[in-house]
């Protein structure tokens, strides 16, 4: 459709004023043209600046309706009853307070119920702000669950030798924070980081 570049259509694409055919043509073009992709990106940043004049408060239902991508399909169990039973049987109730928070720990809870796991305490790496934290992980490393005392959104990294992979950020829920990861890369340790600073580290067996 375009002889060279999309030109002014970049801004119109972002503003949503194009018809369906033009919209699709722009998408096809920017998939292969870095110059036009960047122009579209600049227009998107302008749109975002316009959007910052307002902020709507999402409903509680919206906030609770977390999205999962690539996680196993949710199973239809009586979750809270199983949570209580599993927690008591495994003797971890007091060390894993996040389990009884619906949404945040549901996947971790189901993973624990259906697999064997280890756990390891994080050891501070010199930071005075290091919270008490623990990682629970499957024997086969198919999942891990990090829990920390405090509401800091530390980044969680999987460490494999000298390589590191960011797994996500701790998500605060009340006075604790946690992160469940469904697919864990090869790792011999897990670190909590504040920016580039390693706050603490837990060795995996």
């Amino acid at each position: 459709m375009f002889e060279v570049h999309i030109g002014d259509l970049a801004e119109l694409y972002v503003l949503g004023t194009l018809d369906a055919g033009e919209h699709a043509a722009v998408e096809a073009h920017i998939a292969t043209c870095m110059q036009c992709l960047r122009r579209v990106g600049e227009a998107e940043e302008t749109l975002l600046a316009l959007e910052r004049g307002d902020l709507a408060e999402p409903t509680p239902e919206f906030l609770d309706r977390r999205m999962r991508f690539g996680a196993p399909p949710a199973r239809r169990y009586a979750a809270l009853a199983l949570a209580a039973a599993a927690g008591l049987v495994l003797g971890i109730l007091t060390t894993l307070p996040g389990y009884f928070r619906p949404q945040a720990s549901q996947d971790a809870l189901l993973a624990m119920i259906h697999s064997h796991f280890n756990h390891a305490q994080f050891v501070p790496a010199g930071s005075p702000r290091a919270p008490s934290a623990k990682v629970v992980y499957a024997h086969d490393r198919s999942w891990l669950f990090v829990l920390a005392d405090g509401s800091e959104r530390y980044a969680v990294y999987a460490i494999n030798g000298t390589a590191s992979t960011r797994l996500g950020d701790l998500q605060p829920e009340g006075s604790t924070s946690s992160l469940y990861v469904a697919h864990v890369p090869a790792a011999d340790a897990v670190e909590l980081r504040d920016g580039e600073t390693v706050v603490e580290r837990a060795a995996l067996r």
Partner: protein, 175 residues
């Protein structure tokens, strides 16, 4: 501040990045959709549709494009406009969009609003008018051309110039 690790992981379709992006930018996406759709349930559905569509597609975002938040907000707005147009509720939405301050859902940021208003006021009158039609009322360039009685090509050029001018006054380096 942009999170380059998150943006890179999102472009590589890593599940944690999609979840993190949803948590971090979902509220802004929701606001954008709500402004267009003026219905909380529809706005929520719109945001989830966008995230699931991107997850299934997998290749829509590249970090070279720009800020991930800006990309997601644009997707949210475009999807909301699609829903609106496909439902044939344009006229109703335009009527309501003309009085956005009456919405109980939107909490204005007075500083940002003032900054945006000043930036739009600084545009040439014709550019400011087309931005009002396109951005605040969600009209297509064809509809704007019809409403103003001007050629479609003129409206296209004017809209493009207006948005580029606004970038100069609204976008800071840390977006």
């Amino acid at each position: 501040m942009r999170d380059s690790a998150l943006e890179r992981a999102f472009s590589e379709r890593q599940s944690w990045a999609y979840e993190a992006a949803y948590r971090r930018f979902g509220a802004r996406m929701y606001t954008t959709a709500l402004r267009v759709l003026t219905d909380r349930g529809s706005a929520q559905d719109c945001v989830h549709e966008v995230m699931l569509h991107l997850w299934k597609r997998g290749d829509a975002y590249q970090a070279e494009r720009g800020a991930l938040e800006a990309f997601l907000v644009t997707c949210s707005r475009n999807r909301a406009l699609e829903r609106l147009r496909s439902a044939g509720r344009q006229a109703d939405a335009m009527r309501r969009a003309a009085t956005p301050d009456e919405s109980e859902e939107l909490m204005p940021d007075p500083i940002e609003r003032e900054r945006i208003a000043r930036a739009i006021d600084a545009l040439p009158v014709a550019q400011a008018q087309t931005i009002q039609f396109a951005y605040f009322k969600g009209m297509t360039h064809t509809e704007i051309a019809s409403a103003l009685g001007e050629p479609v090509g003129t409206i296209k050029s004017r809209l493009s110039a207006a948005l580029r001018a606004l970038r100069g006054s609204l976008v800071t380096a840390d977006v």
